[in-house]
C-alpha cells in the first residue's frame, strides 16, 4: 500500500498544484527533538516515549550524523545493549530531503524508500527539521480544505426570480438528525415575520419538515430548496438515491421502510409523505434508483389553490 495515497503524476489539477506549490519547509516539523552521538540508547528510548515519536535524528552543531528509529530501540532491548551510545547503532546511510524541494518529493520518497521519516536539510547542509507521513497528510488536508472553500465561494448563486422574497437551499445529510428541522424552522420564522396566517405557516412548516426528514432517514443525502413568492411557497427536494421502489405504496399511511433505531427516535411511522401531501395544494413525486424528486406547493392565498 502506498504511504500517501496520491499519484504525484496523475492526480487532479488542484492536487497537483498543491503538491508542487507546497515546499517541504511549509510542511515539516521544526522543533526538532534530537540526540547526540554519545547519548545512550536508553536515553533515546526515553525521548521517544516522552514525545510520542518513533525516530530521533543524531545531530551535533546542526550537522546530521545518523538516525535512531524505534526498530533500533527494540533491537537494543532484545540484545541487551541499552547503555551503548547511539553512535554504535544509528543508521548512517541516510536519505534526506532539502527544505526547498516541493512536497511531491516527500510523497515520492515515502513510497520509494519506506522510511517513516526524513530529516530535512537547508542549503548549508544544516538540519532544520524532520518530515513524517503525518506532517504530509495534515498539511495536505488543510490545504485541500482551504482550496475547497475557495472553489465553493466561486459558485454563483441561482438567479432569483423578480417576485421572490425568499430563496434558500439546504444540503441535507443522511442521518443528519442534529441539523434536521433547520429548513422548516427557518421557513416558519420567515412566514411568521411576514405575518401569514398561523394555519398556513403550519402547513408549510409540516411539508418542509416531513420532506427534510425523508432526506435524513431514507436518502443518501440531498438538497431541499425553498422558494417563497408573493403567491406561494414551493418546496423542491432532490436526492441522490436510492429511490422509492413503489411510490404508490410509500404514499399510503403506515407504510415504512425505516429501521428500528430510526423508529425509536420517533420517525419512520410511515406518515411523512402522506402528511406532506395532505398539507400541500400541489404535490408531485417521481422516483428512480438514481434519486427522488418531490415538489410541494402551498398557496399563500387560499383562492389561488387549485380545486381538489
Amino acid at each position: 500500500m502506498k504511504n500517501i495515497p496520491i499519484d504525484i503524476n496523475e492526480s487532479s489539477l488542484v492536487v497537483m498544484d498543491l503538491i508542487f506549490k507546497l515546499k517541504i519547509r511549509d510542511v515539516m516539523t521544526r522543533g526538532l527533538i534530537s540526540a547526540k552521538r554519545c547519548d545512550s540508547m536508553h536515553h533515546i528510548q526515553q525521548l521517544m516515549k516522552d514525545n510520542s515519536i518513533t525516530g530521533v535524528p543524531i545531530v551535533e552543531n546542526k550537522r546530521l550524523y545518523g538516525i535512531i528509529s524505534i526498530d533500533d530501540i527494540i533491537n537494543a532491548l532484545e540484545h541487551g545493549y541499552r547503555d551503548d551510545p547511539a553512535e554504535k547503532h544509528m543508521t548512517t546511510n541516510l536519505v534526506v530531503l532539502d527544505e526547498d524541494m516541493p512536497l511531491s518529493f516527500a510523497i515520492n520518497y515515502f513510497d520509494k524508500y519506506g522510511f517513516g521519516r526524513y530529516p530535512v536539510l537547508n542549503a548549508r547542509q544544516e538540519v532544520v527539521g524532520i518530515i513524517t507521513t503525518r506532517n504530509v497528510n495534515i498539511s495536505l488536508l488543510m490545504a485541500l480544505i482551504k482550496e475547497i472553500h475557495e472553489l465553493e465561494s466561486r459558485i454563483e448563486p441561482h438567479p432569483t426570480p423578480d417576485n421572490t422574497y425568499m430563496l434558500k437551499e439546504y444540503h441535507v445529510r443522511q442521518y443528519g438528525f442534529d441539523e434536521a428541522g433547520k429548513a422548516s424552522n427557518n421557513l416558519k420564522k420567515f412566514l411568521q415575520e411576514h405575518q401569514h396566517p398561523t394555519r398556513l405557516m403550519r402547513r408549510a412548516a409540516v411539508a418542509a419538515y416531513e420532506l427534510e426528514m425523508n432526506l435524513v432517514v431514507h436518502s443518501t443525502g440531498g438538497t431541499l430548496t425553498i422558494i417563497v413568492t408573493q403567491e406561494k411557497v414551493e418546496i423542491n427536494v432532490v436526492d441522490h438515491g436510492p429511490g422509492i421502489t413503489d411510490v404508490e405504496q410509500a404514499m399510503r399511511e403506515g407504510f415504512t421502510t425505516a429501521n428500528e433505531w430510526i423508529q425509536s427516535l420517533g420517525f419512520g411511522a410511515g406518515m411523512g409523505l402522506p402528511n406532506a401531501r395532505r398539507v400541500s395544494d400541489e404535490f408531485d413525486i417521481e422516483s428512480s434508483p438514481d434519486g427522488t424528486r418531490v415538489r410541494s406547493v402551498i398557496y399563500l392565498n387560499p383562492q389561488d389553490a387549485p380545486a381538489t
Binding site: 438528525f177 442534529d178 434536521a180 428541522g181 433547520k182 422548516s184 424552522n185 416558519k188 398561523t198 403550519r202 412548516a205 409540516v206 418542509a208 419538515y209 416531513e210 426528514m213 427516535l265 420517533g266 420517525f267 411511522a269 406518515m271 411523512g272 402528511n275 395532505r278
Partner: protein
C-alpha cells in the same frame, strides 16, 4: 389553565421554563409525524422523545411545551433549542398514560 400552574399541579420538574400562556389541550404521541399531523396549536405535547427534533416539531406545530415522561434524560442541545424557540420542557416520572390522564383531569376540572 396557565402552563406554569398545570405543571406545578402535575408535580413535574421544570427543565426549561415555558411561555406564560394558558394551555387548553394536550396531545400524547411518540411519533413525531403523528404529532405534526394531529396536535392542536398552543397545546402541550406528552412524549418520551427527549431530543432536539421534538423541539423542531413542536415549533412547526405551534406546540408551546413538552412534557417528557419516564424521567428520560434531556440533552443540553434540546434545552438550548427550546430556550431559543420559547418552548417549555417539563419532566415527570409518570408514563404517557398516567400523565395524559392527569393533564386531562386538571384541564377538565
Amino acid at each position: 389553565m396557565k402552563l406554569d400552574e398545570l405543571m406545578k399541579r402535575m408535580q413535574a420538574e421544570t427543565i426549561q421554563p415555558g411561555p406564560d400562556i394558558a394551555i387548553q389541550t394536550a396531545y400524547t404521541s411518540d411519533l413525531l409525524s403523528d404529532v405534526m399531523a394531529h396536535a392542536e396549536s398552543n397545546s402541550l405535547l406528552i412524549t418520551i422523545q427527549a431530543h432536539t427534533n421534538t423541539i423542531a416539531v413542536a415549533f412547526n406545530a405551534d406546540i408551546r411545551a413538552v412534557l417528557i415522561c419516564h424521567n428520560r434524560p434531556v440533552p443540553d442541545d434540546m434545552k438550548q433549542a427550546a430556550a431559543r424557540e420559547h418552548i417549555g420542557i417539563y419532566r415527570t416520572n409518570d408514563n404517557q398514560y398516567v400523565s395524559s390522564w392527569k393533564v386531562y383531569t386538571l384541564l377538565q376540572g
